[in-house]
């Protein structure tokens, strides 16, 4: 692993109703483009982008739902080893906001206790069709102790900020963990190795 060219590796997982723009956020951030239409990304498990924050290389592995949210059939294993969750809704779609509590329950059930959750209201480029006010979303995120941000994947508004801020928080969390616990102590249920990166050498 020491051969890998990064200082930190984080797994970030997107959730939220179908059609709120999860894939667009990922594509905008990792590839700098806004995919027109609903071109499903067949065969792409996750996207990767390495960024530099205060001189440290941070590799972000960003996982999308693979369409399983469409009929509310996301696998539990999808949540298991995420360091951060981006819970997304569409500011022009009341329904996608109303479903947030349901998503939070799934998070509570399956994700690690220490996962960082960010609430994202996407599609602010369609402000004239807004159904969910910023204030409501802010109140909700405060009550749930989440960070909150509004974005536009289309106009590239706040997308960089979303992921970079998240990376900063993940770094400081990781630092705290290594200070509080000695490095060798196991913390099952969070920040675990991603299989294909590691090889089995505990023997």
């Amino acid at each position: 692993m020491s051969m890998e060219d990064y200082d930190f590796l984080f797994k970030i997982v997107l959730i939220g109703n179908a059609g709120v723009g999860k894939t667009c956020l990922v594509r905008r951030f990792t590839q700098g483009l806004f995919p027109p239409g609903q071109g499903a990304t067949i065969g792409v498990d996750f996207m990767i982008k390495t960024v530099e924050i205060n001189g440290e290389k941070v590799k972000l592995q960003i996982w999308d739902t693979a369409g399983q949210e469409r009929f509310r059939s996301i696998t539990q294993s999808y949540y298991r080893s995420a360091n951060a969750l981006i819970l997304t809704y569409d500011i022009t779609c009341e329904e996608s906001f109303r479903c947030l509590p349901e998503w939070l329950r799934e998070i509570e059930q399956y994700a690690s206790n220490k996962v960082i959750t960010v609430l994202v209201g996407n599609k602010i480029d369609l402000a004239e069709r807004r159904e969910v006010s910023q204030q409501r979303a802010e109140e909700f995120s405060e009550a749930q102790d989440m960070y909150y941000l509004e974005t536009s994947a289309k106009e590239s508004d706040n997308v960089e900020k979303l992921f970079l801020d998240l990376a900063c928080r993940l770094i400081s969390e990781a630092r705290q963990n290594t200070l509080v616990n000695n490095v060798s102590s196991p913390l099952p249920g969070e920040g675990k190795s991603i299989s294909y990166l590691t090889c089995c050498n505990f023997n």
Binding site: Q68, F71, R98, P101, E102, A143, N177, S193, T198, C200
Partner: protein, 653 residues
Amino acid sequence: MADNLPSEFDVIVIGTGLPESIIAAACSRSGQRVLHVDSRSYYGGNWASFSFSGLLSWLREYQENRDIVNENPAWEEQILENEEAIALGRNDKTIQHVEVFCYASQDLHDGVEEAGALQKNHASVTSANSTEAGDSACLPTEDESLSTMSCEMPTGQTPSSDPEHALEVNDVDTTGEKENHCDDKTCVASTSEEETNENVPTVEDIAEQPKQNRITYSQIIKEGRRFNIDLVSKVLYSRGLLIDLLIKSNVSRYAEFKNITRILAFREGRVEQVPCSRADVFNSKQLSMVEKRMLMKFLTFCMEYEEHLDEYKDYEKITFSEYLKTQKLTPNLQYFVLHSIAMTSETASSTIDGLKATKNFLHCLGRYGNTPFLFPLYGQGELPQCFCRMCAVFGGIYCLRHSVQCLVVDKESGRCKAIIDQFGQRIMSKHFLVEDSYFSENTCSHVQYRQISRAVLITDRSVLQTDSDQQISILTVPAEESGTSAVRVIELCSSTMTCMKGTYLVHLTCTSSKSAREDLEPVVQKLFTPYTELEIENEEVEKPRLLWALYFNMRDSSDVSRSSYNDLPSNVYVCSGPDCGLGNDNAVKQAETLFQQICPNEEFCPPPPNPEDIILDGDSLQPGASDSSAVLEANSETPKETASLGNPEEPSE
């Protein structure tokens, strides 16, 4: 969410058990349009794992299931003149003889609820802030399920006395408990750095207060999501077909594994550890020098037995157990080899089978650790889900809580052409894969099923305590009378992420001869003691105490030949439910065979393109500038012994 399904697919898969999920992944991977549905609200069917509350509602669902009356099916109008319908069954009959016992003290604070419990069976859960235990009606229903469940015994032999005893547990602190307290304390110290939940009193908190040093039922409920309770108890052979498939297909990236840390044997009323690796044999304190040499010599022979035909050909006609008696092995060693290494019985295996099993065991040894087995973190139920994720990544469409009313068969061609789902929607496809339990009694009237007896126990300590409390053990208890089968015991510790801290999750499995409780209770009584007996005899602290127990029988459809189902069109394929075996080879073989019938000449689950190949690096990246000594990974906290399957090394033994 009110999204409509497309009306045409290449393959429709009904049921999300392991074989179905592997096939769905394989088909999707080779470009087929796959629809994968399950009528249940969870993945895995009888391969699923549940949180504690999830398990209780699974039990409840089985109760309610029985009451479903078939109303007039609406789909009949949709069947055209040149078509026939094969109705699918509406209730799952695969689980029987469910009995639940609670021994842990039920110091009921009203309205205890699993933190963040998900009511999976209700389609819309809307309350935003019910994460804290509220004053809900949750517990009464659970009680109800407990008491009514045990009434499901066919005759009136309901074991009512035991649960009632459990309720009588009082708060008197005994010396026995004080001694135990010390044990628990060391346990807590070594695990206290694991994640803790701020909302819920953890074992750590409890251990500070000697008077409450015991796990209560309400704690089990509260910490319920720490449990991932497998319906089917299996492990992965580290050179088995499933491991090979996980690695080949890269599905291994969705899961993590731990080594089974020890193999145990139950002999003369005692549990002991079986030395199986070279290092184990040499370090063993229970074996004499002579025995060590004997065992090593025999195991070395087994590794390459095929090359020494002359040494065993005279014994080919007798059982493995007879054969072992002819070898230079003490009774002790014979027992270990027969029951714990070859995992067979006195009568079950021929010499060749036994040698083959022993060789397989040794061959798997050392690939990932000191025993030949791996266990998936969060339980066996993760595995089907991992393959489903793979299927979805390649475009497969997933629908839980979606039932299929019937298959539509074209009279002329005799082939199945569509399904009609619960909403009456007709969905066309070329191939249909159906898990056995979905068929109606009409289809299965000639099918003979076997049964699996299962028990799930929550206990307060390991059957064999050592300096580490985080052991994962497999124990085979041989059958006592002929005609019954050996009982396989798998004990899981909390670091497998399948039970709360301070408890162990114990799975017992055997081929049924009677009801699960009749088959398994004798073994449970040998190994464990009900929680209440502690106050009386505190000298017998070695036996773990039972906090909670569940018995049930599961139907085993693994051996059913396709021809015993009535009138299935050639493009309807049947997947079986879980088998009784320890490994998963059966499921993988079945999946590969069926896949090849659906997609002849296609590769089975080839590796997907590496997501790393589509990396777009940030502008600021300077390749090669990283100082490896300063590397601090987010995942450096990974349990070291967690096995990742990515790039396995050759055995070190």
